[in-house]
Symmetry: C2
Subunit: 277 residues, 2 copies
């Protein structure tokens, strides 16, 4: 996996949608409870219904770990299903890990080797030696938190230096030399779309993973206006607004409907930007 392949997925799906599989067991429809692995069953149906409209899935580790080994088994089954049936898809572990070197190496092996993800989200607080072990894996991406979409992002990410530079910009400046566009992506929240302009000056060519559309209120056109580059360069994530759009037997159809709505907006944006015909 590299940036060129990711762009080819975007052109072929006419979409840069990433769907977050925050598959909370308590929120999945009752009709699935009779299955041996209800969460896996939920994911499988969401995937089958939404695969035409997205280029990436992003399981959120918290929603699997919270049930210990049984939860991780659901995650393994989900990844296995995707790899078998839909090989041309970008798989992101939303794990936000970050620890000292030998521990980060173990987390990298967990997500890249054991679970076979293409990418993992990583927190920057502990610095380069906590990030590098992930970058040593070939054909894999790390997705580094820069500016997140939650209200308290401002607590520390805006911490400002003498030179009037907020921490999140320092994170980008310092880290961009650790990898390149083929193994390093940044998280930039959609709730701060106007900031994308300045971030694009710092890293014109990197892909950005943009959460905060849907449940968190970000705007797709704003994001495109400031975030697009000549290989698209953005993945926009939506989680709950898609996977929990329906509550009953109709959940997969409702998810497909919501995903398609976003895909259609993205197709227009990609056409307007002349990235697809």
């Amino acid at each position: 996996m590299n940036a060129e392949i990711l762009f080819s997925y975007i052109c072929s799906k006419r979409s840069y949608l990433c769907i977050g599989l925050d598959s909370d067991e308590e929120k999945i429809p009752r009709c699935l409870k009779e299955f041996e692995h209800p969460v896996y069953e939920f994911n499988k149906r969401i995937i089958d219904a939404t695969i035409p409209y997205c280029v990436a899935y992003k399981p959120n580790l918290a929603f699997y770990e919270c049930r210990g080994g049984a939860g991780l088994r659901d995650l393994e089954l989900t990844i296995g299903y995707l790899r078998k049936h839909y090989p041309d898809i970008f798989l992101i572990a939303d794990a936000k890990r970050g620890d000292i070197g030998n521990t980060s190496k173990m987390y990298a092996r967990t997500f890249f080797e054991y679970f076979n993800f293409d990418a993992v989200t990583v927190a920057p607080y502990m610095g380069e030696d906590s990030v590098k072990p992930f970058l040593e894996f070939k054909n894999k991406f790390i997705i580094l938190l820069a500016l997140t979409s939650n209200p308290s992002a401002s607590d520390f990410q805006y911490y400002t230096s003498k030179e009037n530079k907020p921490l999140f910009k320092e994170v980008i400046d310092k880290s961009k030399s650790w990898g390149d566009i083929d193994n390093l992506i940044y998280v930039v929240g959609a709730t701060k779309a106007s900031m994308l302009k300045a971030i694009r000056k710092q890293i014109p060519a990197h892909f950005l993973l943009i959460p905060g559309i849907g449940a968190q209120g970000g705007d797709l056109n704003e994001v495109a206006k400031y975030g697009l580059n000549r290989r698209c360069g953005i993945l926009v994530n939506a989680s709950r607004s898609i996977i929990f759009a329906g509550k009953d037997e109709n959940f997969a159809a409702r998810a497909a409907f919501e995903a398609k709505k976003l895909q259609q907006q993205m197709e227009i944006i990609l056409k307007d930007a002349k990235l697809i015909l």
Copy 2:
């Protein structure tokens, strides 16, 4: 669990040692490979041998997650064994989590409810709303990363404001009002022992979790000199230097030997500080 109970453990064990269970399957002695759960077997024997010398154990999640469900099963068995046989012990999940609110809540449930830990390490980058969900659990601690012991800690933790204040101090100042001494502990690396003096001015009463002794080179007396308060106020962690001190059948005895050496130094320090008789 609260700070008073933790101090009572310290007085009774005459130790403030925390042992990190970074139980890398590839490093555990061959003689354990025949067991059904070699990593659990390893932990059990390490625990039985070292329990007289420590007040806390700190499994490092990376070393369990890397084997998926089987690894988490080893973790569950280890916690279950500790809770059954040694109820008076402080159990820390070294997980360094941190995500938006609803995800952090799920991580909190994972470590506090599903696994029954007393405490979990949390990364501050995403700010208050990523930390608060952990603090809502009664009788549990979060252990927030402030100043870590790895070489690249300086990349962002020393990022300095106009007022010449490094980020790690801002993390402490801002977060200390989110909780209190009974639910909030800070990670401060032993490799920066002299900085403990200034940190003690910021947070005189909080417990600190201090990694970096042993394999990472920190000094126990330096740490005590600057870190001790009137309820001890420090937990010093050692992981690999204890659990992998021996490589053969002697591994548990060697671990006990190394743990006892640290406990004896700690006993002298605690007596000198008149915290125990």
